[in-house]
Symmetry: C2
Subunit: 345 residues, 2 copies
Amino acid sequence: MAELRTTEINAGTGFSRIFVGESLDNLARHCRKGTFLVTDQNVHRLYGGRFPDFPVKVLPAGEKNKTLALVEQIYAFLMEQGADRDCLVVGVGGGVVCDMAGFAASTYLRGVSCGLCPTTLLAQVDAGVGGKTGVNFSGYKNMVGTFSQPEFVLCDPEVLSTLAPEDLACGFAEMVKHGAITDAAYFARMEDLCQQALELDPEAVSELVHGSVRIKAGVVSRDEREGGLRRILNFGHTFGHALEKGGRLPHGFAVSMGMAAAARLSVARGLLRPQDAERLIALLRRYRLPVEISGYDPSELADALFRDKKRAGDAVRFVLLKEIGKAEVVPISLAELGRVAEKLY
Amino acid sequence: MAELRTTEINAGTGFSRIFVGESLDNLARHCRKGTFLVTDQNVHRLYGGRFPDFPVKVLPAGEKNKTLALVEQIYAFLMEQGADRDCLVVGVGGGVVCDMAGFAASTYLRGVSCGLCPTTLLAQVDAGVGGKTGVNFSGYKNMVGTFSQPEFVLCDPEVLSTLAPEDLACGFAEMVKHGAITDAAYFARMEDLCQQALELDPEAVSELVHGSVRIKAGVVSRDEREGGLRRILNFGHTFGHALEKGGRLPHGFAVSMGMAAAARLSVARGLLRPQDAERLIALLRRYRLPVEISGYDPSELADALFRDKKRAGDAVRFVLLKEIGKAEVVPISLAELGRVAEKLY
């Protein structure tokens, strides 16, 4: 096991402690009487035998099940089990499980405690950190949710070994993003350790996951509710969510393509040097991520963008890059977007 | 129109301003571009013509419709209307509308602004004040919800004139409660102004509503999330929710019967003088409220109590009275409750 690294988030909705390099076998140490576990079928099949001895709700797996209907199943489970206000709900799984367990915990009896044990690389650096909870609604991602910090987050690098290469790549996309928007030194470490990370060397993965968690925690501590600064975490996500809408793409692939498109938009606006965009796109490629959005209909994309949560009036707030490690939120009208559309491909 | 009185709540989840004596006709002054109204069929029929000119979602009326399914209709309405993060959702109606509009606003896009215009006396002194939102689930009241302060609450005494006497009585039950648990002087004003209040004299109603709002606001400002002090607001509610479960009783009637039962339990425990219990019960009767729980099966009651949100382990936290104006939270085991059951009738 790699060295244990700890990060703390102190935000309006609570205090959160994130342990990177902690084994799933130690989850029981973070639990207490009145703990209830929420997981999905895949995670339960692979790791259920290592869960601590508490009641478990096993949900069907997959983004398409990230719905209020499934959250209602969690409420019903908690009620059947007699869970009271002092209970602790622990989500063990990928981003879907973490987001749904977090939402259920933050609304059951108007809010009970929550812990998370993210089992994918993406969830360890993204959904597990920062207190965003939620579900999809009517085909749109995370339309319904809350801001609510989990008490603890436990990230075990060992469980990543069962991930498909595609799922690993999705995690790397978020990590590259964290470097690109806030931290050139971390971005350079993502370049240096690329080969070891792809081979899941535990020490390299732990260093990079911890670095990524620290970046996200720093942003979230300063702006939990996305009044301003936190918006930069949406780099790649505005295009990404629109690309993802059809349900054809894994989230990280969509974000990678979205980052490439946003970098090209930054260059088209004269904000970013072309060679910095190329450096970002090259690193995404090295992490086996797609960077081309050809094949997507520009008018379908525009329609999906218009419904994006980050829309303010007639403009969409895009996160653009100024250099590697520096981002800026820029409202861009749909008209302008139409004019530069061909430069994004 | 009576004098305009303002109360402020500054709690963890936000700042709230409550205007007592403000006309519904002035609601537009509190709204802005991007406002969406939520109401029910009854309120819309009576007052829809006086609503400001914003899109309106009209829900079916009644406690049985206080469900996640109806909240989903509010989400769908907001999405269809293109409501973004800067929008304002205003609930105009009784407690059911206020709680559902508040819950929808606090979870749509992870939380948008909310305003309330409670149109029943009960909602003006209870649901509209304090930031509790939520819906019923699986037959139990308010199992799912959030703590989230509305930006503003507008209480118009004139709209109370269309209420049924039974609905008025429900509001008076909460107001008597506020006096009983925290403020002997306010309790005495409820005694002094009883006749004028029953006749809906605007000045008397405004004075009493404002006094009640101030009491609740004071408690909520000090303890928004019900860690301790706020629990005293549940006086009468533990029995009340259990009595209400069958769906036969209006909320305020159940709370009145619950207060009488809790006062008798306080006397049985030697905490309260019998004449103080009698004084409370007499005032409830003057406000045309029921005070006897005969007719309810003790074992059904105990079963419903055991599922109450206020349960902590094997004991239920009851709010008991020490004197008029002073309450205390006391954990009482189901065994003890069984032993004194006949004294509650």
